[in-house]
Amino acid sequence: MAKTTSGEGIRTIEEINEKIKSGKAVVVTAEEIIEIVKKKGTAAAAREVDVVTTGTFGPMCSSGAYFNFGHTRPKIKAGGGKAYLNGVPAYAGWAAVDLYVGATASPDDDPRNKIHPGEFAYGGAHVIEDLVAGKDVRLQVEAYGTDCYPRKHLDSLINIKDLNEAVLFNSRNAYQNYNVAVNLSDKTIYTYLGTLKPKLGNANYCSAGQLSPLLNDPYYKTLGIGTRIWLGGGIGYIVWQGTQHNPHAPRLANGVTKRPAGTLALIGDLKQMSPKWIKGVSFVGYGVSLNVGIGIPIPILNEEILKHTAIADEDIVAAVVDYSDAYPNGKPEVLGEVNYKQVKSGEIEVKGKKVPTAGISSYRRALEIANDLKEQIKKGEFLLTQKVADLPVGDSAPKFKPLKERPVKEDK
C-alpha cells in the first residue's frame, strides 16, 4: 500500500485479527465513527479504532443464485432444455443439473405490463427467498434426451437442504451512491425507484448514505477481490468489481462520488442466509427485484482510511434525475444536487418546489447489519481478510460505456 503522510500505517490486518481473536478489537459502526471523530479528531480516532463496519439493505436487481439439484435416475440434462422454479424460468445453459435463477425473472405467463402498471407479484427473487426460507420449490425440467442423459421430463419438489450447492452470485451490488429519482411529467410513472407522482410529486433515493460500504472506502483502499463480507445474514466474498463499475464518476474533495460509481460482484453460501436479508420485492410497473443485505468491515490501517469512514450524510451528495425523460432516454441532465441529510429529512427542494422524499434502501436495516457485523467481530466470530487484488480505480480503470449500436439490416 502506498504510504502518504496520513497514509502512514498504524496497524496491519494480521494485528487486527490477533486483537479480534483475543476479544480486544475496537469496533464501531460507520455511524458511530462520525461522533468519535468529531470529539477526538481523526488522528486519535485512528489510533483507537481497529475496524469500522458498514451496511446496506436495498433492492439489487443484478442478483441471482445458482445451484446443483442432484442427478436423477435415469439422468436428465437440463442444459439446452428448459427449467422452471415455481413457474419462473431458470437459466439451464450449463451442464446437466446446474441452474441459475436471476432476481428479475418472471413466469412466462405473467401478464407483466400488459395492463399497465403490472403487479409483478412473484419472480426469481421470490424463488430465491423461498429457497432461503427453507420452503419447497417446484422444479420442472424439459430436456431433449441423449444417450447419456435419456430422461426428458422432471417435475419434482426441491428444498435448499437437499441441494448439493446453493450459491448467491450477484454481478452488481452495493452501488457507490445512487440517483434521487423524480418525475417532471404530468402522469405517474412506475420505476425501479418506486412510484413517482407527476410534476415533482415525490423524490425517491436509494443509498444507505453514511453507512454505505463503498462510500466509506471511496477509493477501494481496503476492500477488493477476496474481501470477506457479511452477505444475506451469512458469509460472502467480493469476487470482482461489479458490472458498470465506474470509478471515474465525479467526486467531491472528500472522495465521495457524486453519481453512481463503483459496484461489487459478490458471492456467498445461500444455505447460511436468512429470508430477512434475502428478500423478493415487487415494483409496480417495473418488475421483480431482490433486496440484499450487505455488510463490509473496513480495517483502519491508517488515518486516511479512518477519515473516509467518518463521512456523514451531509458530506454525501447525490444527483436529482428526472425518470420521465432524462433517465429513460440516457440524457446526462441533472436537476440539482442534494445531500443525504436533506433527503433523509423527508423533504428536498427541486426547481424551487418542496418535494417529499422516501428511501428505497432501508437505513434502519443497514444499521442493523452494521451492528450485527460489529458484534460478530467483537465476539471473534468474524475475521478480516487481506484483499487478493484491487478493484479498478484511477486512470487505468475501464470506462463505463453505453452501447454503440450497429443496426443489422435484414435481407429483404
Binding site: F57, G58, P59, P117, E119, A121, G194, T195, N202, A203, N204, K279, G280, V281, S282, F283, V284, S289, N291, K344, S345, G346, P356, T357, A358, G359, I360, S361, S362, Y363, R364, R365, L367
Partner: protein
Amino acid sequence: MTPRKIVLTFPKEKIDKPIVYKLIKDHNLTFNIMKASITPDQEGHMVLEIDGEAAEIEKGIKYLKDQGVKVEPLSKDIKVNWDKCTQCGVCVAICPTAALYIKDRKTMEVAFDAQKCIACELCIRPCPPRAIEVHF
C-alpha cells in the same frame, strides 16, 4: 367530537336495503363514504366516517348490528405485516394522511398510526415486499 371511522360488511341478503340511509336519517348523523364495494359473491363492504352525538352513534351502530351488518373499527382494516416489511419508506411518500410515517429520522424507522389511516389503499401495490395487508 371526532368522527368515527367504521368498516361495514353487509350480508348478501341485505345489499339491496337502504340501511345506511336509515342509519343517517334516524340518528341524525353526518357521514362520508370513503369506500364502497360489492364482491362477486355479493357481499357488501363499506368504509364510513360518521359524526354526530355520541349516544346516537351508539344507537346507530346497534341498529346496524340488528340488521345483520358486521361493524368493525377502521383501525382493523389496514395492517402492516412487520415480518415482511423491509423498513424502506416507499409507503411514507405515498400515504396521503401520514398514517405511514418515519418515527425517528436518526434510525429512519417506518411506523404506522392506524388512527390516521383512511384505508385508501394507495400504499398496497407500491410496497416492494407487499407487507401492507387489507383485512375485512
